[in-house]
Amino acid sequence: MLRATKYREPRRNPRPLEWIRFSRYAHGVSYEIDRAEASLREIGALADRTRRAGRSMATGFPLVGWGAAWAAGYAALDLLDGVLRITVMILAWAFAMLMTWMPLRTVIRTGVESRMRWAWTAVMIASPFIVSAAQPSSMVHLGLLLGALWSMAMCLYAIATHDTAFAVIAMFGVVLAGVAGAQEALPPLLLFGLASGLILLTLGIYRVIVGSRHV
């Protein structure tokens, strides 16, 4: 037996610790510990790199678009009137749609792009029916209800894709819509639009930069 012979070695060996060192590697594996550690570190970093890049590419530009659209659109609802208000809202929506669907030269695909498109179409189709069912008492509450609904849809998408930062920010939007509707100190739509929109915009810009840096 290999071990039995090793037990007797140390007493006569001038370097009695040799057998202990040997016993660690005496299991048919010649891999060095340092190499294994370095390898683990490197492959962990590589997997993390493509994970971040994929996430950034899937959500970066859409977040920039919708963040800017919410900030501008909700602010316009509160601060502007007439044709100018409608113009700003249409421009904001068009910008968000462009950022979401513009044909980018994507280098990473999630594989669920088509399903996501259908899911968002379902949310958009459902929105007027949900508004009709809820019968909000004013335009302010209508705006906040839609903001909360779309934030919730974003949050569910983020949870499904294990995107913690996006999930937290989207959930913040839902909570903010509720708080904005209940308080009277600040214009509710402006508060909701700027607070949730700018956070989405910040995350989007960060991801666009990160995504371009990683791959």
Binding site: I20, H27, I33, R49, T50, I108
Partner: protein, 136 residues
């Protein structure tokens, strides 16, 4: 403490020793293939990445990457697909379920080696144990 008892206490548990005898995945034992598989592993389960993006991420030459990817595709750890924009062909690569499983198992084996080396007593404590065994 008897000689045998103190010496036995410095050995790895039998269970870990048994797992260490399990051979590594020969395909993933190549460092570049392991790096490629790691990059594919980071993608979403149904996600894929362009060949050119892999070249940039891994800093490998086209030929080198291509040959390693072929080896991974051959054993079923990765899969490729192509899209065309006009006449321009784009190759996309993704990890298969078998590839993800093999990668996880390989990483577990690597981690086991590192963990078991940490579990084994340091040289100082081993020296103490040896001194005790010698009755010093």
């Amino acid at each position: 403490m008897s000689d045998e008892q103190s010496l036995r206490s410095t050995e790895l548990p039998d269970e870990i020793g048994e797992r260490l005898r399990t051979p590594f995945d020969t395909v993933l034992s190549d460092p570049n293939r392991l790096r490629i598989q790691a990059a594919l592993h980071g993608l979403a389960p149904s996600g894929s990445i362009r060949f050119t993006a892999l070249v940039r991420a891994l800093h490998l030459s086209d030929g080198n990457l291509s040959s390693h990817l072929s080896a991974l595709c051959e054993v079923g750890y990765a899969t490729s697909s192509s899209t065309f924009t006009g006449k321009r062909r784009t190759r996309w690569y993704s990890a298969t379920a078998a590839g993800r499983e093999a990668f996880d198992a390989h990483v577990d084996a690597l981690r086991l080696i590192v963990d078991s080396s940490r579990m084994a007593p340091s040289d100082n404590s081993s020296e103490d144990a040896a001194k005790n065994a010698d009755g010093l």
